[in-house]
């Protein structure tokens, strides 16, 4: 088991600023996490769902329903949208958090964020232009039929250029690219990290009303239902030292 007290896995501290391949992580053993990787293999936030208040439970549980068909994006935008969401959140295999559906629902319902840069179109038009732009760059740079058809490495290169505002031509000329990146990422991150599977992956305790949290540290930071990240300690030693899980 990897040692999580150590920091060698953190991208900023690695020579290439790239994280290790996710295969260094344990597989999720209880519950579901995106791509079944995570740091808390025996933690399932949903095991505490019966302690959540009704209002919260219905909002969170709705995210686990089978995703509905897209309403805002058109069928010809859908592959680009999905490929983009998969690439920026590194979701290469199932199970996937349905990020594309979250974004689509937000835009279809007009649940926008409450501000618009003076030099930018409405967020809904920004999204459409970004998807066009991704296709445009995939075609002109790599000769692919569209962004979704480009090789995974090429998709990552395009997204990296988007993150650094290094794209031009076609639809990109109509956008302040750095701001467009922020518009898209805000929605994507909210979609991904509002999903209980992502909470399993990161060991987040989730909703806590009416139960509350009792263990703030320093002696312990885990509630009875929470689990420590897997560690390099021999479980037998850990029990002897009083570091028992849970």
């Amino acid at each position: 088991m990897p040692d999580f007290r150590d920091h060698a896995h953190l991208p900023n501290l690695r020579p290439d600023r790239e994280p290790p391949h996710p295969s260094w992580l344990p597989r999720q053993e209880v519950g579901i996490s995106p791509q079944m990787v995570g740091r808390y293999p025996d933690f399932d936030v949903l095991s505490a769902a019966d302690t959540w208040d009704e209002a919260t439970k219905s909002v969170v549980m709705a995210r686990l329903k089978d995703p509905a068909p897209l309403r805002f994006f058109t069928p010809d935008q859908e592959p680009t949208l999905r490929a983009f969401c998969d690439t920026v959140m590194a979701q290469d295999v199932e199970p996937r958090v349905p990020v594309a559906e979250f974004v689509d629902d937000k835009l279809a319902a007009g649940r926008l964020d409450g501000y618009q840069y003076a030099d930018m179109p409405d967020d809904r038009d920004t999204w459409r232009l970004v998807l066009h732009g991704l296709d445009h760059t995939a075609r002109t740079r790599y000769g692919a039929a569209g962004f979704a058809e480009a090789d995974p490495e090429n998709r990552e290169t395009i997204v990296d250029d988007l993150a650094h505002a290094h794209l031009d031509g076609g639809p990109w000329e109509e956008l302040n690219i750095a701001r467009a990146w922020s518009v898209c990422m805000r929605a994507i991150l909210a979609g991904f990290y509002s999903h209980p599977w992502a909470w399993n992956e990161i060991g987040f305790g989730g909703p806590a009303y009416p139960r509350g949290f009792m263990r703030l540290g320093p002696l312990s930071t885990t509630e009875p239902f929470e689990r420590h990240g897997s560690t390099s300690e021999d479980p037998v030693d850990a029990v002897h030292q009083g570091l028992g899980h849970g």
Binding site: A55, Y117, P210, P218
Partner: protein, 579 residues
């Protein structure tokens, strides 16, 4: 001995003249009185109509209702039913925020929405973090003493009794406070989390003093308000009633004293009698597409938040005020301010789980005032914070990560602790609210906010961000991520000593319309580096006392100018007149 006695009495003495804590129900989070509150007919002339049931508007209403005033509050957002409407969830709290469109421009546009203002009964404090520091005495005269910003027409002593009263009402918990004007708090400090303890340790090693609090969060019980359960969702609305907001601290008492809150009612403009120049009431819509309704009133107070208050004034156009109400001198909307709010987050070997406990825990005001050796005027404060996963993902993004690197950092979430600053950024005339072309669903033109940093602001932000980064390194953080951001809008209808340089006088009464007041954070001429909510409430409390006594309607030029006349006239005389 005196200290021991005070210690024993901590949490035991409540405020007089405000029964909100007893009016709340132990078993339900509803604001008691919604069904039974007094109802006025729009055609009936009430004593006061207030726009906005937020920090400023609610305190003003509660106070004046106790003096027998008949009051209607128009609130654009919903009447919350927290048991059903609020959730223990980040993304699910979208409805709490003012998310109708606003245009942002300037060299450094400020992202609004969930980061800035609320919409609904209780205003932005429903989802504010809960830090409740006072301003320092030095905040009221930065132009004279530091050569930057503006002088207020009032001083710290004018607000002090109101700070004390509001602190008792929230109630504020914290350690004895050594900075600014040293003071104590009515409730003992909360226990702190492991994450905050690590940060405090780092600060201590650098010789930076920090203290627990001050937060408007019940520690113990307070009437029918329970103890905080450390669930960490303060920014999503406290479902426990432990965190202070007008919804629990002032509106229950207001409703019990014949105030009517008319929720889902969007004010469109202030109506002015063109012959007398007096306000006659406020025109509003009670539904999208609905007809205009005029609520008549003897006095009008606007408390819609620093963006909506100037917007409402600028949209109130008439032949007498063709450029917007109170805007003959082109002052409305100017000098809008935000605080720099960079945050750094550090990685530690242990699991800290920063999502537990309220986000506001430990803070320092050691760097609040000007220190010329730093190379800029005025200063900053330091506060621990603790973003939930979506908020923290935005940090990771701001440090330049996405894809696999984002996932890797996010899986590490439980090992991180976060600390932030609040910079006093300076008021500038070109940082302003204007009216943009698009209209909202009611057909009312929306606001545009332009914002650009000046050199002093940039130096302050750069220096303070270094200080918090040093704290993380001193605490032995293994890795550090930084996000530059902003928080807390004030200004836009500032108070001052002359109509040429301000919108309202020392009594928050508009220079142009004799029965129109501004009762929210818009009136602040400077912002210090303290979070604004307590000061907004204290200002409204002072305003109410002066409206009740009639002092606020004093037409004497010296009274209207307040202490701003002190350089010109006899200082002591002018000062005593305003208090």
């Amino acid at each position: 001995m005196a200290d021991r006695l005070r210690g024993l009495l901590k949490g035991a003495i409540g405020p007089s003249d405000n029964d909100s804590r007893y009016l709340l129900d132990v078993h339900s989070r509803e604001l008691p009185g919604e069904d039974t509150m007094r109802q006025y007919a729009p055609g009936e002339e009430v004593d006061l109509v207030i726009v906005g049931a937020g920090a400023g508007g609610s305190v003003l209403a509660q106070r004046l209702a106790r003096h027998g005033w008949n009051i209607v509050i128009l609130e654009a957002g919903p009447f919350w039913h927290p048991d059903e409407d609020w959730v223990s969830d980040e993304a699910g709290s979208h409805e709490l925020y003012w998310t109708q469109n606003r245009i942002i421009g300037g060299a450094d546009p400020i992202e609004l929405g969930k980061n800035n203002s609320g919409r609904g009964v209780g205003g932005s404090m429903v989802h504010y973090a809960g830090y409740t520091p006072r301003f320092h005495p030095s905040d009221f005269s930065t132009l004279t003493d530091d050569g930057v910003g503006a002088d207020w027409p009032i001083n710290y002593e004018d607000l002090r009794p109101h700070y004390e009263q509001v602190e008792a009402e929230l109630p504020v918990a914290g350690q004895n406070w050594p900075w600014g004007h040293p003071h104590r708090y009515p409730f003992s400090p909360h226990p702190i989390s492991g994450a905050a303890a690590r940060l405090w340790e780092g600060a201590h090693k650098l010789g930076i003093e920090m203290r627990v609090g001050p937060v408007g969060i019940v520690n113990g019980t307070f009437g029918n308000r329970p103890h905080c359960i450390y669930r960490g969702y303060c920014l999503q609305g406290c479902k426990v009633n432990a965190k202070a907001s007008p919804y629990v601290t002032h509106l229950p008492d207001a409703l019990a004293h014949a105030v009517e809150i008319r929720a889902n009612c969007m004010a469109a403009r202030v109506e002015v009698d063109q012959a007398t120049g007096r306000a006659t009431g406020v025109v509003y819509h009670d539904e999208v597409g609905g007809a205009e309704i005029l609520q008549r009133a003897r006095f009008v107070a606007i408390a819609g938040y620093s963006i909506e208050t100037p917007r409402l004034l600028l949209n109130s156009i008439s032949s007498r005020f063709p450029h917007g109400l109170c805007n003959d001198e082109d002052q409305v909307g100017r000098y809008i301010m935000v605080q720099g709010a960079s945050q750094t987050t550090g990685r530690f070997p242990d699991e800290l789980r920063m999502y537990k406990a309220p986000p506001p825990e430990v803070s320092s005001e050691q760097f609040y005032e000007t220190d010329l050796s730093r190379g800029f005027a005025r200063g900053f404060s330091i506060q621990t914070v603790s973003p939930l996963p979506i908020g923290w993902a935005e940090h990771v993004l701001a440090d330049g990560h996405w894809g696999r690197a984002m996932r890797e950092y996010m899986r590490d979430y439980n090992h991180w602790a976060t600390i932030g600053v609040l910079n006093e950024l300076l008021p500038q005339p070109e940082n302003r609210i204007t009216i943009a072309e698009p209209i909202d669903p009611y057909g009312i033109p929306i606001a545009r906010m332009d914002y650009s940093l000046c050199e002093n602001d940039k130096s302050n932000i750069a220096h303070s961000t270094e200080v918090i980064t040093d704290i993380l390194h001193a605490a032995d953080a293994q890795d550090v991520l930084t996000i530059y951001r902003y928080a807390h809008l004030v200004g836009g209808a500032r108070m001052g000593s002359s109509p040429q340089a301000s919108v309202v006088d020392a009594n928050q009464r508009s220079w142009a319309v004799p029965n129109l007041f501004v009762a929210d954070g818009s009136v602040c001429p400077t912002q210090g580096s303290a979070n604004p909510a307590l000061t907004i409430m204290a200002l409204a409390s002072r305003l109410a006392a002066r409206m009740a006594s009639g002092a606020a309607m004093d037409d004497d030029p010296l009274a209207r100018a307040g202490t701003g006349t002190r350089q010109a006239a006899t200082p002591q005389h002018a000062r005593s007149r305003s208090s």
